[in-house]
């Protein structure tokens, strides 16, 4: 055995240390400059025991992971105050001692809305609540996002930050107050610049990285009315002593429920401060928290107080029926696949109940409220073709349970005659050599004037750009491939118009398989 000189040993050790590296830059889309202080993490795919590596971007936005073993890495990055335009995690393949340079991760800086809230006489309204709702679309309807909120300080100033680019409706109000047992005083909101109704709001456009200042809101006294009534408890057969109550305005951009509050000991309630509009009053017994078993009544406030808006809470409503199969594949056993029927509130999308399909294909869902539900069936390859009650097809896949009753004999026609649509997403024109699409969403948008049962079909593309959508019902669609993240809101008719050149008409007919290539649509700036 020969002894190596110390220097040679060191050299040998150095040669054995892995020298792979991943390097790049974190860049602001808006300014083009580097972003300092972003946190990055890298881990090798599939091997959970490998430690996760961390680094931070330098003042010019540069980052480096070094001393890496060869392997398949996933890299992701985060910086508070910014939203990534890059789709994370980014896969990076490293051969032994390879150095991968030039990764560029792009981030948008969030927007800001600032301003002041004053009373009619110009005094700051300290503590006023300010909300900004981003205008979005869902199932073809205009809808508000969950609001970004803030409150006015001792100078009446507010600052709403962390806003993605978009169009916003800005509203201010005083906080709600519980003024006595069973009594809630709401404060009517003022929509920028000074409207009493969302339809009078002037939307505020915020671009990435933009600070929109001087959005001044003036709170004025408004004519408002009260709703009073009593809540009974179905189980106790008397007043509901511990019911929780909510009031939502249905014709408002903000259809999120109001805060919960309790009825008075005798079951009575009174809600003040309601401007003319359509409202839903909902009550729930304390015995059913989280079960979404709610009784509600919808009322219209015009120019006077409404009295006697009475409710009975704690009614157990059920929907039962059976599933009929149309051209099922051989050996289909839905119960083995534990097929489920899901009842989602049509307004909020909250899942209220899930019913399991029994071996004889019957089902029963309980604990439902008297609101319309959209029903979905999760069964491999099967699509709901129709809902029937008493032999009549329902006009839409929606079921409304009566206030004091249940529904029996709901027939769900489940068809297995859907078609497979597959294809690949093509990189945008002018993209560099070797560029391929790693993240996209493929959407089939049903053409107008078809059955209400035809819904938007969505699937994410594979990292290779290929996609496959199974069980698409026959009908006419326009197919789009949309970028991820910052996916354009295809539910917005204006967006569909702007992306018309990227849409491909698609006629789905029974018994045909369809293959198509779709051009990747661009990211849209604010409309």
């Amino acid at each position: 055995m020969t002894f190596l000189p110390a220097a040679a040993l060191l050299l040998q050790l150095a040669a054995e240390a892995p020298r792979g590296a991943i390097a790049g830059r974190i860049v602001s889309v808006e300014s083009g400059t580097g972003i300092a202080g972003a946190t990055l993490a890298a881990r090798t795919a599939g091997q959970d025991r490998q430690p996760i590596l961390y680094t931070t971007s330098a003042s010019d936005g540069a980052f480096l992971f070094d001393g890496l073993e060869p392997g398949e890495y996933s890299v992701l990055a985060r910086k508070p105050g910014y939203q990534a335009e890059t789709h994370f995690p980014v896969p990076v393949r490293l051969d032994a001692n390879q150095r991968r340079d030039g990764l560029v991760f792009r981030f948008h800086r969030y927007g800001v809305i600032t301003g002041v809230v004053t009373s009619a006489d110009g005094e700051p309204v300290i503590g006023a609540q300010v909300k900004a709702y981003r205008v979005t679309w869902e199932d073809g309807h205009r809808k508000a996002s969950e609001p970004f909120g803030g409150s006015a300080d001792d100078r009446g100033r507010y600052r709403l930050f962390g806003l993605p680019a978009g169009r916003y409706v800005v509203a201010a109000s005083l906080p709600d107050q519980e003024t006595a047992p069973g009594e809630l005083a709401l404060s009517p909101p003022t929509y920028f610049p000074s409207g009493a109704n969302p339809s009078e709001a002037a939307p505020v456009t915020v671009r990435w990285g933009q600070e929109v200042s001087e959005i001044r809101l003036t709170l004025r006294p408004r004519a408002s009315f009260a709703i009073t009534g009593r809540v009974g408890d179905a189980a106790a057969n008397g007043p509901c002593r511990r019911c929780t109550l909510r009031v939502n305005r249905l014709d408002d951009i903000d259809d999120f429920p109001s805060r919960e509050y309790g009825t008075a000991p005798d079951g009575s309630y009174r809600v003040r401060g309601l401007v003319p509009g359509v409202y839903r009053v909902s009550a729930e017994t304390a015995a059913s928290p989280g079960k979404h078993q709610v009784s509600s009544r919808t009322v219209t406030v015009q120019n006077r107080d409404l009295t006697g808006v009475n409710l009975v809470a704690g009614v157990n409503r059920t929907v039962s029926g059976r599933v009929l199969l149309q051209s099922p594949p051989p050996n289909l056993d839905l119960t083995k696949q534990s097929a489920l029927l899901e009842f989602r509130e049509a307004g909020t999308g909250v899942v209220a109940a899930v019913a399991r399909l029994q071996p004889d294909l019957t089902f029963e869902a309980s604990g439902l409220s008297n609101v319309p539900y959209r029903v979905r069936v999760d069964a491999a390859g099967g699509r709901v073709k129709a809902f029937r009650i008493g032999g009549q097809d329902l006009p839409a896949p929606e079921v409304e349970v009566p206030e004091q009753d249940s529904i029996q004999g709901l027939e769900v026609l489940l068809a297995f005659d859907g078609v497979t649509v597959s294809g690949s997403v093509q990189p945008p024109e002018g993209a560099g050599e070797g560029h391929h699409v790693t993240a996209a969403v493929v959407v089939l948008w049903p053409e107008d004037n078809q059955s209400a049962y035809l819904a938007k079909e969505t699937i994410g593309a594979e990292p290779s750009g290929s996609f496959r959508l199974e069980g698409v019902p026959a009908g006419s669609y326009t197919a789009f491939a949309l970028p991820v993240p910052q996916t354009p809101d295809i539910d917005d008719p204006e967006v569909r118009q702007r992306l018309a050149n990227y849409g491909r008409p698609l006629r789905v007919e029974r018994g045909k398989t369809i293959s198509l290539d779709l051009p990747l649509a661009p990211t849209l700036d604010v409309p």
Partner: protein, 495 residues
């Protein structure tokens, strides 16, 4: 069930009482009425809101249709702080059974002080959405602090606290738990220390803005824990949730197909590692973290038990059985029974980690002391692997009610005075307090039997009660409260 009882009480009370008064703004040397102040009437015990309104342009308010019961009236307007004109307490207590229409629940408001500043990181970049706590400081019974306001920094790292009562404040940037892509930070006090005792106090005066209260945050070292969970034959266990719990955060990891797991970025500290499968916990063990831990092998273990006995404080008939409950994280509460004559008990299925012992029944029993060996320990136990033997729980019964009248030194009832009940020998003093109504009457309910000091003060800041000195006064009474007693006694207010 307290709120139900309060509701029933209210349902039984006669209505038709009213409270009225005026709110004044005191700014430098001028006093004028203040409009737009929200007045709220709460039930004196239980806290249910009975009514509320806002002062008019003359600063006046009136609330009608109130139940004829003891109520507490308070005044608030954002940006201001208010206190009772008489007595200076934050609220006015009125017995509406004794006076159905009470006029003169007046308040005085002052514009609050303001503190502003910036939170930045080591690069000087703003840090947004950190939680900032403000505490008001007093020096009675040692430096004592009281949470006053909590707010967040905005996208410029800026924060603004307003409506502050004059006084001395400490500012703390709260702990931020770590996660996959975020460093953990310990609390930092202004101007930049983790030690509250070395924090600089910020002096706040009415209507004055203190600016430049800036803090720079620095990251702390974090560590990774990785390993594999295996069954007794060393085969991988799948679909398990692993948790690392410390006193301030919980981190999760899901075991992969091969049983491997990783927890990234955890701060130094003491943890409990718990693995949970579909049938519940399969192991729970302590872990000290001060460096990266790699290749940790975790195996299922057997749960331990807690054994001990129940003792009783004070004389009186003992119940035939005491039902005990143990609450631990990630587990359904466990119950067991200690029966006469020896009142021994045993909880099975006990895992290492924090656990709280409490009395499930009878309903008027309370836990007065927990002892291990001969040492008193908190009711929140840190259970080691294997469990605990010889736990002694002392149980008391029969809460009492202490009522009375407060007289001024020169005779006659003293309205809106403060009464307080203290445990002797504590420092800072442990006390309960209430405000007397318009006739000088006070009520302290749900008082546990035992030895107490009872005093009344014409004008005192609540903070002062933490100091033992104030309890040395001749007019402070010594009091033994027996189980289920209704104690009625008169006190002379200390000026």
């Amino acid at each position: 069930m307290r709120c139900v009882a309060a509701g029933l009480l209210l349902a039984a009370a006669a209505y038709g009482a009213s409270v009225s008064g005026t709110v004044y703004l005191q700014e430098s040397d001028t006093v004028r009425p203040l409009a737009g102040v929200r007045i709220t009437v709460h039930q004196a015990e239980g806290g249910t809101v009975l009514g509320s309104t806002t002062t008019d342009a003359q600063g006046r308010y009136q609330i009608e249709s109130l139940p004829r019961t003891r109520v507490q009236v308070s005044a608030a307007r954002p940006g201001f702080f208010a206190h009772a004109r008489r007595g200076g307490e934050p609220a006015v207590v009125v017995d509406l059974d004794a006076a159905a229409d009470f006029a003169g629940a007046d308040f005085e408001a002052q514009p609050g002080g303001v503190i502003t500043g910036h939170i930045t990181d080591a690069h000087g970049d703003p840090v947004q959405e950190v939680q900032i706590h403000l505490y008001r400081v007093t020096d009675f019974g040692g430096r004592h602090r009281q949470a006053e306001q909590t707010m967040g920094s905005d996208d410029r790292g800026q924060y603004r606290a307003f409506g502050l009562e004059p006084g001395r404040y400490l500012l703390e940037v709260a702990t931020q738990p770590s996660d996959w892509l975020r460093d953990r930070r310990s609390p930092v006090y202004y101007p930049g220390t983790s030690d509250a005792a070395r924090a600089t106090e910020i002096e706040v005066r009415a209507g004055v803005e203190v600016t430049g209260i800036d803090i720079t945050l620095r990251p702390e070292p974090v560590f990774q824990v990785s390993g594999r969970i295996v069954d007794v034959q060393m085969g991988p266990l799948q679909h398990l949730i692993l948790r690392l719990t410390s006193t301030e955060q919980v981190s999760y990891s899901f075991a992969g197909q091969d049983g491997t797991f990783t927890f990234p970025r955890l701060p130094r500290g003491s943890y409990i590692l718990t693995a949970t499968g579909p049938q519940g916990i399969i192991t729970s063990e302590p872990l000290e973290l001060s460096a990266d831990v790699k290749n940790l092998t975790v195996r299922p273990t057997e749960p331990g038990q807690i054994t001990g006995r129940v003792a009783f404080s004070g004389p009186g008939a003992k119940p035939a059985e005491i039902r005990l409950r143990a609450r631990a994280a990630w587990q359904n509460p466990l119950e067991t029974v200690a029966r006469a004559p020896d009142y021994q008990f045993r909880f099975a299925d006990i895992w290492a980690g924090p656990l709280v012992v409490e009395i499930a029944s009878p309903s008027d029993a309370y836990l007065s002391q927990v002892k291990l060996g001969s040492k008193e320990v908190p009711a929140r136990l840190d259970v080691p692997p294997g469990g605990i033997t010889g736990l002694e729980l002392t149980v008391g019964f029969g809460v009492a009610r202490v009522t009375g009248s407060i007289k001024a030194r020169r005779g006659g009832p003293l309205p809106q005075a403060r009464v307080a009940l203290a445990r002797p020998g504590t420092n800072p003093v442990e006390f309960r307090t209430a405000i007397a109504d318009q006739n000088g009457r006070f009520v302290l309910s749900d008082v546990r039997p035992g030895e107490y000091l009872l005093g009344a003060w014409a004008s005192v800041a609540v903070e002062q009660l933490y100091g033992p000195e104030i309890w040395g006064h001749d007019a402070v009474k010594r009091l033994t409260v027996e189980p289920r007693a209704q104690v009625e006694l008169d006190l002379t207010a200390i000026p």
